[in-house]
Amino acid sequence: MKVLVPVKRVVDYNVKIRVKADGSGVETANVKMSMNPFDEIAVEQAVRLKEAGAAEEVVAVSIGPQQAQETIRTALAMGADRGIHIKHDGEVEPLAVAKLLKAVVEKEGPELVLTGKQAIDDDCNQTGQMLAALLGWAQGTFASKLEIADGGAKVTREVDGGLETIQLKLPAIVSVDLRLNEPRYASLPNIMKAKKKPIDAHEPADFGVDPTPRLKTVKVSEPPPRQGGIKVESVDELVEKLKTEAKVI
């Protein structure tokens, strides 16, 4: 089985982002960038499937600027076998990503695509579901457990009321949630080895996909800041404030 893992380059989750003064977007110049944390979990899962003998090859694919190759290298250092980079500067929306991924799937023929559940920059939570729709495949979203057996995938999903388990026919798309696993750190030897692993370079046009955004971002602004509060000295003072000032109890 071949596993495809789409990985997105995003502003690191620890960075406190700043909105550009002209309201055109969020400052990404000179900001630490990393692999989307959910995608690290997806790569980890794919590599574990390979280590367990359930998968033969793990291919990481990223759509983004030239530096997205660094994100692919991170996946390769974690244990992915090779990379595919589709170069595109500027924003790319989930529908366009899904169309590009569909083209890659048709070329590569994986039986499983592991996406992150959500990119932490656009917070869209769409790409995996869209790819499943375009391919006519089964989808298992927000996975906290994944078992591959008997030509199928058993997926435990984190839903609002608790957990739900579903059975998917392969090939399928699974979008991973936080508790599926804990991603490994790449070791130095593996980082060195990753430098020699191949990355295929493409452009969206190679796949006949137009990545121009469908939605126009009119304005990006900072949310109104919360009014600063106070520190209370004791539980008594807290109870008093909640009763007489905030009037919430």
């Binding site: 406190k16 969020v26 989930p94 529908l95 932490i120 920059d121 917070d123 869209c124 939570n125 995996g128 579901q129 869209m130 499943a132 729709a133 375009l134 006519g136 989808q139 298992g140 979203t141 927000f142 906290s144 058993k154 999903r157 984190e158 609002d160 009321g161 608790g162 957990l163 739900e164 388990t165 579903i166 059975q167 998917l168 026919k169 936080l178 508790r179 955004p213 469908r214 939605l215 126009k216 971002t217 009119v218 990006v220 602004s221 900072e222 949310p223 919360r226 509060g229 106070i230 520190k231 209370v232 539980v235 008594d236 807290l238 109870v239 404030k241 909640l242 905030a246 919430v248 109890i249």
Partner: protein
């Protein structure tokens, strides 16, 4: 303009998330229809017909929709969508699962998690864990939208009298099947809609220690929530998680106990009306958003607070 709201329901009950979603449709303007896609929908359809502002209820009742598997439901949504300008569902795990699949079938770019309606085709949505707000303008033929529930006050569940129309079912699909569910049982109010929420973090130390929060919650009639660290550590189930990737809530009172206040956590609770933080570290970032901060050991402060609430 014409809006189709995809309802979330079980048995005879329409979930409140649907009422928030109808509220967003109301701001967009035009007719509002509600679609029920599932099995044994009659009782829920009767309830949906009473929702304020709804003029028609479409019922798609078919065994193929059992457990509302995305592979069956999304094509139905795409089919129904053809005659509407806007199709909306709540941005909870139900809507997030099915709507992008329907949007892709329609070849439209979905607008996720809207927090305000700026105009009929212009919407505000939080990005970067709510640290920025983007206004997007859509020129899509159909606007497929998920709605942030806490940003739209629920419409009344009673008062309307919509007509009910049965529309067709679906072909059975064999891509996916339901195996089972492990739902968290609780007598407490629902975390998503509770007026008061008491949340615990890694500072709680163990699942057993959550008992002191539960006692406090019961005295306040509150729901219990948690940070990701508390869920990851196995103190409480996954559906307790509040944050960027958990539940987004905005109760009247949020009490954060032993939670440091990472941006991913703040993303899920910073719109609460009043925030209380109890933390022994006076530098914890949670104090920057707290209306009332108490620097104390939670194992002293929580039982004392519970006692003094009388």
């Amino acid at each position: 303009m014409s809006n189709l709201v995809i309802a979330e329901f079980a048995g005879d009950e329409i979930w409140s998330a649907t009422l928030n979603t109808v509220a967003a449709a109301k701001e967009i303007g035009g007719d509002i229809h509600v679609a029920l896609i599932g099995t044994d929908c009659d009782a829920a359809a009767a309830a949906a017909a009473k929702i304020e502002g709804v003029s028609k209820v479409l019922v798609c009742d078919d065994p193929a929709f059992t457990h509302q598997m995305a592979e069956a439901v999304a094509p139905k949504i795409a089919e129904l969508a053809a005659t509407y300008s806007h199709v909306l569902a709540p941005a909870d795990t139900f809507g997030k699962n099915i709507m992008p699949r329907a949007a892709a079938l329609l070849d439209v770019q979905q607008i996720s998690d809207i927090s305000a309606v700026v105009g009929p085709t212009s919407f505000e949505r939080p990005i970067y864990a709510g640290n920025a707000l983007a206004v997007v303008e859509s020129a899509e033929k159909i606007n497929v939208i998920t709605v942030r529930m806490t940003s739209f006050e629920a419409v009344a569940a009673e008062g309307g009298s919509a007509e009910i129309e049965k529309v067709g079912g679906a072909e059975a699909q064999e891509l996916s099947s339901f195996v089972g569910a492990e739902m968290t049982e609780s007598e407490r109010p629902d975390l998503a809609t509770a007026k008061i929420v008491v949340s615990g973090g890694r500072g709680m130390g163990s699942g057993e220690n959550f008992a002191i929060l539960e006692t406090l919650a019961d005295k306040l009639g509150a729901a219990v929530g948690a940070s990701r660290a508390a869920v990851d550590a196995g103190f409480v189930p996954n559906d307790y998680q509040v944050g960027q990737t958990g539940k987004v809530i905005a109760p009247d009172l949020y009490i954060a106990v032993g939670i440091s206040g990472a941006i991913q956590h703040l993303a899920g609770m910073k719109d609460s009306k009043t925030i209380v933080a109890i933390n022994k570290d006076d530098e914890a970032p949670i104090f920057q958003v707290a209306d009332y901060g108490l620097v104390a050991d939670l194992f002293d402060a929580v039982p004392e607070l519970e006692k003094k609430l009388g």
